[in-house]
């Protein structure tokens, strides 16, 4: 398992309720791909959302986000953490 940071662009004006709803939708099905979304942070002004996950692959992360209707713009594996 590896940590991943995925980034969503174009989410201008996202609200706390929308971020929570999207996160809950991911949590509801993440187990089917052995993904776990740990945290998500949003900057509504620039329309940027960051999701930190642990997963077997970037493809697994993307499949969950696609099924819940918010495909990521970028997904980066994070082999280094401090």
């Amino acid at each position: 398992m590896t940590k991943f940071m995925d980034v969503h662009h174009g989410m201008h004006g996202i609200t706390a309720d929308q971020l929570l709803a999207a996160h809950k939708a991911d949590l509801a099905i993440e187990g089917e791909e052995k993904v776990h979304f740990e945290r998500a942070w949003a900057d509504p002004a620039s329309g940027t959302v960051y999701c930190l996950s642990e997963a077997p692959s970037a493809d697994a992360v993307m499949r969950i986000h696609e099924r819940t209707g918010h495909p990521a713009s970028e997904i980066h594996p994070l082999p280094l953490v401090v």
Copy 2:
């Protein structure tokens, strides 16, 4: 105090030791700007580093990163967290 995510591009091939050294350099002086760098994650393949901090402003985050020799490419406030 607000959470911030700052992103460094162009860090291709960064090693665990280099990430740790950069993080420790930030921690050593962060108090002078009332910043705290909580975590940092790196993807050496794409050359991307993400730093999560709590700080009074994006400018304060940037001043610490500039003084330690690694100015951020982007800094985003994160008013929403789940």
